[in-house]
């Protein structure tokens, strides 16, 4: 009965075009980045006997639909994944088909984060030449207009909040600071304030660092440094950003991420002076979170060799270099970090921002990598977003919220393992 159910589910998945097309030499690659299509086109040109189809999907599709597709035995052959380790049980081990030493050398950090608990310690599941990073965008024009000096590198979150408030007041800018409604962004602040988030046993940790970060975050909302529109106005784990506010000069400091550089390049250019600053510091660290999407192949693919060949092709230095230049991304592959990447289409300000991000890659704290590669990172992020919003709306106090975050994550882990 169950095998029939499985067959039916797989057939349905195929019918709704989420599975690979028929034929042994065809695979589907999906990503949220349109520029991946150029690599797919180059591969198809170089391999006329094979056919790789590209599918552009939304970020929500990667997070919400892909897990269900994979659980039902369907889905694309290769996809970008944002939940690096949460879907690890579906990843194909590419070792038999690719140059393992090359992958290990270029993507060592990423490979460790992609491996499932029961996978071989040398398993190779995917690649990414680029990394995204959280980061704070500052409107330098507003600072100049206010006649206030920008805090120097090494300045704390408090320094920046104070400066942003003063600039907003002096220039009548509606908001001093904004932070994406994402626990991934909040994790940077939490780690800066000493939160460990995940311990060596892979358990979630609620400590004084996390509580201090929540208190600070709530205080910024109470005193108007942060508006309620993002974290306060929405419920649950809903992701929301208001980056348009930064692009329209309605906010002095916006804590978002490197993925906004492409928009800044295309839509803002040099209309006003802006910069990505060094990570603001807390008492414990000056932390930014790594993130982004890794490209992985899935076990259910009918063409593992072709999937592996495509990923090996995408992992070639020249192809990664082209992708990075197109997307204005931060290099992560070892060779690219060493040799640097040129961004011919990027404006001077975007290049400056990329240099700022790249400079900060080596100082990403281990806690940030540990959290990013943790299997239950999504559960923790959902819990943090939900509970912090409740504190902002006076439904919970900070201690109760911290206890609920811990409980939510533990229950999620327990339910998954039960």
């Amino acid at each position: 009965m169950d095998s029939r159910l499985r067959a039916i589910a797989a057939a349905v998945a195929s019918a709704v075009s989420i599975a690979s097309p028929a034929g042994a030499d065809e695979i589907v690659v999906q990503s949220i980045n349109a520029y991946v299509k150029s690599t797919v086109d180059n591969f198809n040109r170089e391999n006329p006997g094979d056919k790789v189809h590209f599918r552009l999907v939304s970020y929500q599709s990667i997070n919400d639909s892909l897990p269900v597709q994979l659980a039902s035995g369907g889905g694309p052959d290769i996809s970008m994944v944002a939940d690096w380790n949460g879907l690890a049980k579906y990843y194909l081990d590419l070792r038999p088909y690719v140059d393992a030493a090359y992958f290990e050398r270029e993507f060592g950090t990423v490979l460790a984060m992609l491996r499932a608990r029961d996978a071989r310690p040398d398993a190779i599941n995917g690649m990414t030449g680029a990394i995204t990073m959280n980061g704070a965008y500052v409107n330098r024009t507003l600072f100049r207009q206010a006649g206030i000096a920008m805090p120097s590198p090494g300045a704390t979150w408090d320094d920046w909040a104070d400066a942003a408030r003063r600039v907003a007041k002096a220039t009548r800018t509606p908001m001093a600071m904004e932070v994406d409604r994402s626990a991934h962004r909040f994790a940077s602040i939490a780690i800066s304030y000493g939160a460990k988030l995940v311990d060596a046993n892979g358990d979630f940790v609620v400590d004084e660092g996390l509580k201090a970060a929540i208190r600070k975050f709530v205080a910024w909302h109470r005193d108007g440094t942060l508006p309620m529109d993002l974290w306060g106005a929405v419920g649950g784990a809903t992701h929301r950003d208001n980056f348009d506010d930064f692009m329209n000069a309605k906010v002095v400091l916006y804590f978002g991420g490197s993925w906004q550089l492409e928009r800044m390049n295309k839509e803002v250019g040099d209309l006003f002076d802006w910069a990505v600053i060094d990570a603001p510091c807390g008492p414990a660290a000056c932390a930014l979170m790594p993130g982004g999407g890794a490209m992985v192949a899935f076990k259910h693919t009918k063409s593992p060799k072709l999937a592996a060949r495509y990923l090996a092709f995408a992992a070639r230095e020249e192809n990664m270099r082209e992708q990075l230049a197109r997307g204005a991304n931060i290099p992560l592959a070892t060779t690219l970090v060493k040799t640097g990447v040129s961004y011919p289409n990027a404006s001077e300000l975007v290049r400056e921002a990329l240099a700022s991000y790249t400079r900060q890659v080596p100082s990403i704290p281990p806690a940030a990598y540990a959290f990013q590669g943790w299997r239950f990172q999504r559960a923790a992020m959902n819990a943090m977003t939900t509970r912090i919003s409740q504190v902002l709306n006076n439904e919970l106090d900070v201690d109760t919220a911290a206890a609920f975050i811990k409980k939510d994550v533990d229950l999620a882990i327990q339910a998954a393992r039960r």
């Binding site: 309620m228 529109d229 106005a233 929405v234 902002l392 439904e395 039960r418």
Partner: protein, 333 residues
């Protein structure tokens, strides 16, 4: 000419009766084999099959998920956990304080629903009734106004919600109007009480037309001579409404009440887009909790979501049964 018509009708009748004649031997055979009493089941079979596959089977699968655990999708990869999912949902120190519950968000959603559903149903039926009565009168451009009130029903819930988001957001049209008059902007959706009221308003705006049409049909089915008799007796408008319209509209009102209540409990899409269940959990509804638990957060907890949906289903079933019983009682009286 008459002869031609009769001939034509004869030919058409013969053609129309062909399918019946063709299946007649089969029917006779089935009647002989199954007996007269069982033959109706043959006619019901297509509908029963559809109901079995699209209603009964999903419910059974839901039951199966609710008594199994893990984040795996296939039943064979899930473990039997008995009633553990139900116990988790019901585990509460004090049901009046959701913070003491194991799944506090579920109970916050229940608490919200207990306020949202009666409020929305009363406002919805009240406005729908007033609108239906107004549209039943001989007013100018009656057809146009009927169309206007029904128009939101044809829109996708997401479109409805997005439209209202654009109106109500910080830089939305409503704040733009306030700003134009030199007034302070208001946070329409970031204040819990305001967001809750707007959730009721938007859902009423979106669905009122549907119930208005049903009530309008009910009003039009009331015989005109009763109103004429009341007019001759010089009955006041309120007396006409309370003694004629309302009692004769009662069966239709009951249907509207049941439909509206069920729909209200199931509210999800508009509010999900409008507020995401926030601020905090101020507008989180039960179906939103089920969706988040089963499909939006990682790891997926299909078992808990299935248990919550079945509990909701049972409550709705009991509620509908009660309403039907009251309805029959009213008709008998």
């Amino acid at each position: 000419m008459k002869g031609f018509e009769e001939k034509a009708m004869g030919v058409l009748s013969a053609i129309a009766s062909l399918p019946a004649r063709a299946v007649e031997p089969l029917m006779v055979l089935l009647q002989r084999v199954l007996g007269v009493g069982r033959l109706p089941w043959v006619f019901l079979l297509p509908n029963l099959t559809v109901i079995l596959f699209f209603s009964v089977l999903p419910i059974l699968i839901n039951v199966l998920y609710s008594v199994t655990g893990s984040d795996n999708l296939y039943p064979s990869e899930r473990h039997f956990v008995g009633l553990a999912n139900y116990a988790t949902l019901l585990e509460c120190g004090d049901y009046l304080d959701p913070s003491t519950c194991s799944r506090d968000l579920f109970w916050r959603a229940v608490r919200n629903a207990l306020v949202f559903v009666p409020s929305q149903v009363v406002v919805m039926i009240g406005f729908a009734l007033v609108t239906a009565i107004a549209l039943n009168r001989r007013i100018h451009a009656r057809g146009f106004f009927r169309g206007i009130f029904f128009f939101p029903v044809m829109l996708s819930p997401v479109v409805v919600a997005m439209t209202w988001v654009w109106l109500l957001q910080r830089d939305g049209a409503l704040n733009g109007v306030l700003g134009a008059f030199g007034l302070d902007r208001l946070s329409w959706l970031s204040d819990p009480a305001r967001a809750f009221k707007w959730s009721i308003f938007v859902t009423v705006w979106a669905h009122m037309g549907f119930y208005t049409i049903i009530l309008l049909a009910g009003l039009q089915s009331i015989p005109a001579d009763i109103y004429e008799a009341a007019k001759m007796d010089r009955a006041s408008p309120w007396r006409v409404f309370s003694r004629i319209t309302l009692p004769l509209l009662k069966p239709v009102l009951l249907v509207v009440f049941i439909l509206c209540t069920i729909r209200s409990v199931q509210t999800f899409d508009e509010i999900y887009v409008l507020t995401g269940g926030g601020p905090g959990t101020a507008t989180k509804m039960i179906v939103h909790y089920i969706y988040e638990t089963g499909f939006a957060v990682m790891p997926r907890n299909y078992g808990l979501a299935a248990a919550a949906s079945l509990m909701l289903g049972v409550v709705l079933f009991l509620f509908t049964a009660l309403q039907m019983k009251l309805s029959r009682k009213g008709q008998d009286a």
